[in-house]
Symmetry: C2
Subunit: 335 residues, 2 copies
């Protein structure tokens, strides 16, 4: 899922998203609640209409940003008090309030309000956080009523396999139509993320979507898909693009490098994105060095296309039960 | 002509430019010479290929930017010594060098290297500048040889009608396939610009293009077209767009205004641009307030479409010998 934090995937139009086959995008409840406000979006017909995206949308619960963007967020069993990172104003989000906001936004898939366990956390901290997440998940389910939206549950449990198992059991018991693995991609070693995903994914029902939140690199998507994960979201393709960092079959390149100054070829010869069909590396490097805004869109188009095609290849390999023949893990990173 | 200073009309792709019927765009020789360099562009097949714009391009001579971006530029009869505004490096551009650079860039129309007369300038300063411009125009013509490019001359003469007449006579005597009126839109009163244009345009051959450089507002385009001007370039539609300032039939609006916060309508109900067909004022205002880069492209698309349609209406009125029925001069500006 391309990430559309503030009701736009940065630098891209809905037409652009359709051009590389995006099927579903993610919106951030925390950001949209603060600006422009969920009531405004509701009054204008919901998030789909507001941003003119007629395809599926998933909103997160706001939990992750409430904590990551507010170091002084105050948690009680009732919910979380925090200050807006925009204007310092005071706000309170509870599980019920998160559901209310997400129902106003009107995404197709909405997420239970959880407490992402900080990393690192010891067993007792993690257990406490897990218990709160389970309690809040029950309250989310109770306050949620919709014929058009689906509410997914989130498994926490930090880096402790036995707590991941307990969280999975409790969340599954509440019964959701899909389950997410939360609290990863928070600064832990990649191997730890793989270990926890490999341990947790099989605990979740195989007949319902499994969603690994906030992950990851192309290699991460490949490895975690093989562990049974179905859905991912990550700002990596769009954010890297805006820094000139581009994903290619050969690894990763930075278009700002002097070696591309006179390079007449496209970013990737086999790529079918608008950028690769129309512009040279030399031109893109020039736009980047000159600070020209057009380059943000062109590079984002390429990276997003790479990610969509990467996942499409993984799906094809799964459907045909054939090996995935692009090994990206040992690629030289030219940055 | 939309302005594509650094080999891109800011925020727009060639596809975008075609979408609103742009027929010719302008490139800035000064900027392209400094970055990425005219030799690089030549080696990559010229400016059309470099930026993937297969339609006409006009490059200015570099004269205007050499002076406006380098307060310490040193002029001799031979040419101009100046420091790069990017890295402070020393450069020298003469009439011959300007032609050489513009031939490397390969635009369809290129401009003679002139000295834009500063404003204000007294009669004697202006006369001196005019004489240099004529001398340089002769040298440009002499050093220019091409079967594919056209070299236009530029009339100077400041705000002094009698010097405008003398400059026009001298430049016409050299014989160019098109003529520009330079040195206006430099801070003078609008009425002064109109007076000089009304005086100068009829001095130029009616069977060759007349180009008023750096002008202007929709009202300026209308008035100066009625005085016989055929071509204009101006950053106004693109630069205003990036500040949220939008041209509409009703006048001008700024999308950041609070009154648009909940406005479900498009920027302009009758506009056929991608932005007006797909997005509300409320959404565009949200993108602007949130600092989302997408809005730069969307607003630039609208303003550029407005300008192209405005000029198309003027052309139709001229061709059909009918009155131009959109009076924009008395419109309320809501900024």
């Amino acid at each position: 899922m391309p990430v559309g934090t503030q009701a736009t995937v940065k630098a891209l139009t809905p037409e652009d998203l359709e051009s590389f086959g995006a099927q579903i995008i993610l919106g951030n409840t925390y950001h949209l609640y603060l600006r422009p406000g969920h009531e405004l979006i509701r009054s204008l017909g919901g998030l789909h209409k507001f941003m003119n995206w007629p395809h599926p949308i998933l909103t997160d619960s706001g939990g992750y940003q409430v904590f990551s963007l507010n170091k002084l967020a105050k948690v009680t069993e009732e919910g979380v008090k925090f200050q807006s990172h925009i204007d310092g104003s005071s706000h309170f989000i509870s599980p019920e309030r998160s559901i209310e906001i997400q129902q106003a936004l009107g995404a197709d898939i909405i997420m239970a309000f959880d407490e992402p366990t900080p990393y690192p956390s010891d067993l007792s901290q993690t257990e406490k956080s897990l218990n709160l997440t389970t309690l809040w998940a029950r309250r989310c389910k109770k306050s949620f009523h919709s014929d058009t939206q689906a509410l997914f549950g989130i498994v926490q449990g930090g880096m402790h396999p036995e707590l991941r198992r307990r969280s999975a059991e409790q969340i599954i018991e509440i019964d959701f139509p899909g389950y997410a693995i939360g609290g990863l991609s928070v600064g832990e070693e990649n191997n730890m993320m793989y270990d926890i995903t490999e341990h947790t994914a099989p605990l979740l029902p195989a007949n319902k979507p499994r969603y690994l939140m906030g992950v990851g690199t192309p290699e991460d998507l490949l490895k975690c898909s093989s562990m049974g994960v179905d859905m991912f979201d990550c700002v990596m393709p769009t954010r890297h693009a805006r820094n000139g960092s581009l994903f290619v079959q050969e690894g990763k390149i930075n278009i700002k490098n002097a070696q591309y100054k006179t390079d007449p070829g496209p970013i990737e010869p086999d790529c079918s994105c608008y950028t690769c069909l129309n512009f040279s590396r030399a031109y893109l490097r020039h736009l980047m060095m000159a600070g020209e805004i057009l380059v943000m869109r062109l590079l984002t188009l390429h990276n997003s296309t790479f990610y969509q095609q990467w996942m499409a290849s993984i799906r094809t390999a799964i459907e045909n039960d054939t090996p995935f023949n692009m090994d990206w893990s040992d690629k030289v990173v030219h940055e």
